[in-house]
Symmetry: C2
Subunit: 389 residues, 2 copies
């Protein structure tokens, strides 16, 4: 027997993104090694090689990285200096620390996108509530006072957490974000028509693929539904959004999946809202709706393998998130959901149900958008317990 070179992909973080990345890696015959906070984490339940440990500890990371051919991530929380240390040890880290910083720190991201001339909401770092009022005044036009203003802590936010809307100078939200002791970014509150996501995958070689641009519908700051492709999207806007995402991936040196969350304004302009450098909720539809899923392409990218076809397999695919409701056990709901819709694709994460927590999603594809949306919404609602027939 000669040498066998099937690589070991090490993934930091045991959440559902790692769970689904492992699932997508199984057909490739690669080895998957997980660094997880606990043995009960979503991905740790189903992966073969699991190291339980704290990703904030460099020694733990270094021991985990031994024997890995590449390190990638379920989340963006690994300290930059630790990633640089792993790189200095000779371990490829993908995406690398210089790219990942833009997904870790919204201030750095905004500054860099401004340099690149990428369309974005007006924004700058602010130092205190008075500075928030000054930021509002800078944006005041005509009779308007520049409010509302959106404040975000530059680190640590997700799913609407770490985000405040300030409706006037006296709004207590103007002081709230400064209590966390991290930088605060102010942004104009864009009066957008809808939210889109342009998702791309890029390899170290520089090969890149762009998924169809999708519409993302948020409820209470949490992604509720994703429609692929975005209905009625102007083809020029679609191409512009894809080119924007490809350009950001290139300029920032992203390796792996990059989600570019966008606001579409009433006049068809697209503004960058957020970046994520990992598989992303707005790409879950690809598991059943695209030729190659975001998870499979993320694995291929971090291994510098040629990327797979990102195109749609069906005219419409709708993803609906399953949030925790009042019922701790969703399994009995499978009977109704599967019997009602034999084409339904359920993706559960093995997580304990907590109200509002993302514990799974469903994908439905088909020819008629209204039908596909209804089926996805019904299944997600039934699993959550908000629909009972």
């Amino acid at each position: 027997m000669g040498t066998v070179t099937f690589p070991v992909v090490g993934m930091v973080g045991g959440g559902q993104l790692a769970r689904m990345t492992h699932e997508a890696g199984i057909p490739l015959g690669i080895k998957f090694k997980l660094l997880s906070d606990t043995a009960q984490d979503s991905a740790a339940q189903v992966a073969g090689e699991v190291v339980v440990g704290d990703y904030r500890d460099l020694g733990t990371l270094r021991r985990f990285a031994q024997g890995c051919d590449v390190i990638t991530f379920d989340h963006e929380h690994v300290p930059t200096e630790h990633l640089r240390a792993l790189e200095a040890d000779g371990i490829p880290v993908r995406p690398g620390p210089d790219a990942l910083l833009h997904a870790q720190d919204k201030g750095v991201m905004r500054a860099r996108l401004s340099e690149l001339g990428v369309p974005a909401p007006r924004n700058r770092l602010v130092s205190d509530p008075d500075d928030v009022a000054a930021f509002a005044r800078e944006g005041a036009t005509g009779g308007a006072d520049g409010f509302p203003v959106v404040l975000k802590t530059v680190r640590g936010g997700y799913d609407g957490k770490g985000v405040w809307v300030v409706r006037g100078a006296d709004d207590p939200n103007a002081s709230e974000p400064f209590k966390a002791g991290v930088g605060v970014l102010a942004e104009e509150k864009v009066d957008f028509a809808r939210e889109l996501a342009a998702n791309v995958v890029r390899s170290p070689h520089g090969q890149a693929v762009a998924y169809p641009v999708v519409e993302s519908i948020q409820v209470d700051g949490v992604c509720d539904t994703v429609i692929a492709p975005a209905p009625g999207l102007d083809p020029d806007t679609s191409v512009r959004a894809q080119e924007l995402a490809l350009r950001i991936a290139h300029e920032l040196g992203v390796v792996g999946h990059l989600a570019v969350e966008l606001f579409e304004t009433a006049d068809g302009e697209v503004l960058v809202n957020e970046l994520a450098m990992r598989p992303h909720n707005s790409g879950h539809w690809t598991q059943d709706g695209a030729v190659t899923s975001q998870f499979a392409n993320h694995v291929r990218a971090v291994l510098d393998l040629p990327l797979g076809d990102p195109r749609c397999r069906a005219p419409w695919t709708v993803m609906a998130n399953v949030l925790g409701g009042d019922y701790p056990d969703m399994y009995p709901a499978y009977l109704h959901c599967m019997a009602r819709d034999p084409q339904l694709k359920i993706h559960m994460y093995g997580k304990d149900v907590k109200p509002g927590r993302k514990v799974g999603h469903v994908n439905v594809y088909g020819d008629a958008l209204a039908d596909v949306r209804e089926r996805a919404a019904h299944a997600a609602g039934y699993l959550r317990g908000t629909i009972t027939e």
Copy 2:
């Protein structure tokens, strides 16, 4: 928190069928527990909960079954009496021992299918080489002598092993099968036009789904290519084959996936060749070519969940097996294969390469059969090393 009822599926056997069943079970949020001969087996590399032990030992099986909600199988080798013992312990075994016996013992299978009036090659158990000659004479018509005759050991054969073709009374193959010390079945050698497979999945409730009938092309007794659906198959023959498989599943009380391997004769008759009660090589195309894969439906069936839609997602899907060749390392071949065909679906099993061993398969789907076949054959040949451009 109330009780959470997501079940534990225990699978006996660590081969690629278990590997791909685990992969298909991840989205359902179920727990998967594996009994594997070694920690290096195909499925053991990727599954979360692995017990290493010998399935021939009842004590091992009993300990494994503790905490499992149902036991199912990667292979048909677990002794019937052990399965009955597990059932007596209150563990659901699916398929159950009475059904599984027909996939374990070709003599039992042939006798039962005869009772049911299922079309089959002429056959009977034979006791020695003289009896083989007698069996041939019983089938002699006109000037023919009744040879060739096919001999099979009733247990233990697979992929052409345990099968002999006897071309005349003096052929040494007439005595060879009797050396194994197990029963020997004689069958007429059917002059078939091609081989088909009718695959169905049945739940304990009695719900069943039938996959499109496929053509299976064997090379040297090993499955080489599967085409879904079988090209040019007469619609009446297709329905007849599906009904036959559904009837066998019902009459034998099969739970889970049942593969019915068929001979199609020149005049459109279908004769049952073999049965397998587990996911089967002739169903691997469903991973990428059907709405619901055989693996997902097998899991749903053994859990008595409603079954998923078995229909095709593309006009044509072709599966080509990847056999071991002279190169022990197939990973470098990914570069060419993935770059040449961004829609190619590779499924590798994590197995050491040995010449002729099934170590993976590829699936390709599309609108034009010739194109799809060429792409699948090219990828499988390139991975094996028989095609080098």
